[in-house]
């Protein structure tokens, strides 16, 4: 399956400033690993040293949080969009 991964602004420096990356994969986890294969610098930002997805990384398949689907085992359909949603704190007190 071919799907689009949406890269949030704070992580675009690791994808050559690309906001969208096309990858192949049958599940969310597989697609993410393909992404990291293509852009190795993303690895420490998405995965812990023992290879687990970092707990503050939010993933949405289309508009659904994968935590309420089958996490990394969630199957993907051709043309799906996987979004990495960052915690951003900026507002502007200063």
């Amino acid at each position: 399956m071919s799907l689009t991964i949406q890269i949030p602004t704070p992580l675009r420096r690791f994808t050559g400033e690309r906001g969208e990356v096309q990858v192949e994969g049958a599940t969310v986890g597989e697609a993410l690993r393909r992404l990291v294969d293509q852009h190795a610098a993303l690895q420490p930002h998405l995965y812990t040293e023992d290879g687990k997805l970092r707990s503050f990384v939010n993933l949405f398949l289309n508009d659904e949080d994968v935590r309420y689907l089958k996490q990394e085992n969630t199957p993907v359909q051709e043309g799906d969009t996987l979004s990495i949603i960052p915690s951003i704190a900026g507002g502007g007190l200063r």
Binding site: P8, T9, P10, R13, F14, G19, A41, P44, H45, S55, F56, N58, F60, D63, E64, D65, R67, Y68, S83, I85, P86, S87, I88, A89, G90, G91, G92, L93, R94
Partner: protein, 390 residues
Amino acid sequence: MTLVHDLENAVLPALTPQEIRRYSRHLIMPEVGTAGQQALKAAKVLMVGTGGLGSPLGMYLAAAGVGTLGLVEFDTVDESNLHRQLLYSASDVGRPKIQAAMERLNEVNPHVELVPHQVRLDSSNALDIAKDYDLVVDGTDNFPTRYLVNDTCVLLGKPNVYGSIFRFEGQVSVFWAEKGPCYRCLFPEPPPPGLVPSCAEGGVLGVLPGIIGSLQANEVIKLILGRGEPAIGRLLLFDALRLKFRELKLRKNPECPVCGEHPTVTSLIDYEQFCGLGQEEDLGPEIDIDPIEVKRLLDSGTKLTILDVRNPPEFEIGTIEGATLIPLPELQDRLGELDSRETIIVHCHHGPRSTRAVGLLRKFGFTKAKNLKGGIDQWSVDVDPSVPRY
């Protein structure tokens, strides 16, 4: 009081003839009408932060006739605020923001009661400040205060109108634990310090808080009027570069530590600690070196490596002569470009990133790494004024 939803039967403050003239474009709309405008007049809204998001929020909420507007702010106006914080003018630089904001908002609408809270919101004061308001608007700029605002709202049962920005990307939602998910349901844990840059490090498009803050103001007004579909259980994402809005579904996490079925957070906690701040490894005072000392060493011919860990656009603004640029996020992968036998003077803009860089370098055996105290900003003050300050 709580938000009024039965406007027909509620006892609401009357509008004066002057107010009727002022709000006429609201009053003639069926979605607002006289009862809606009275509900706005009765409403008490607490704004946390009067910066980038707080500027449009404050001005639109005041203009719309929100009766009581509480402002939480402890900072002073800095020149670098002016490209986005429209509450402030050039003549306000150096003044307490809350004072300048009160004056400006009073000009916008003298019918609004403004309540200043000139404090840094923390676990000791948040519940006491927020309890008198109907809802809270989060216009803060850091993770600890965002978790604090969230937990305060959950514990008090109040809606939290959330907005956040970074560079050219924004997020908006309404977190209201009684009716949907809270901030922690979406973000159970903060990212470790240093992974996500702040606006001070990463920058922000000046117009972006104008857009996101205005969307927050719209949600506040809808909640007060009890009209439309508030962004409860929805996260709106905005990408200013591509002019794209997207919407994600948010769910209430039954295991949420603050709003879940078995909450473990039942009072406010230490949010700095929760976000991993203030517990970075203490590298001791000997890691710092003053700009004047570095200048003296360079003049005496001592061989030093000057390592700049800022981002490339900052490097373009001004540099220390001979500096090597390796942005902090790339440092660990590019250690091979450095010589561990040399004294490495690390700098960023004013210190936080270079301190983290020195910690990383020392961990990998660069024992002679030192932090340029006060960064290139202090270098400009003490050594080379031709380097522009920003």
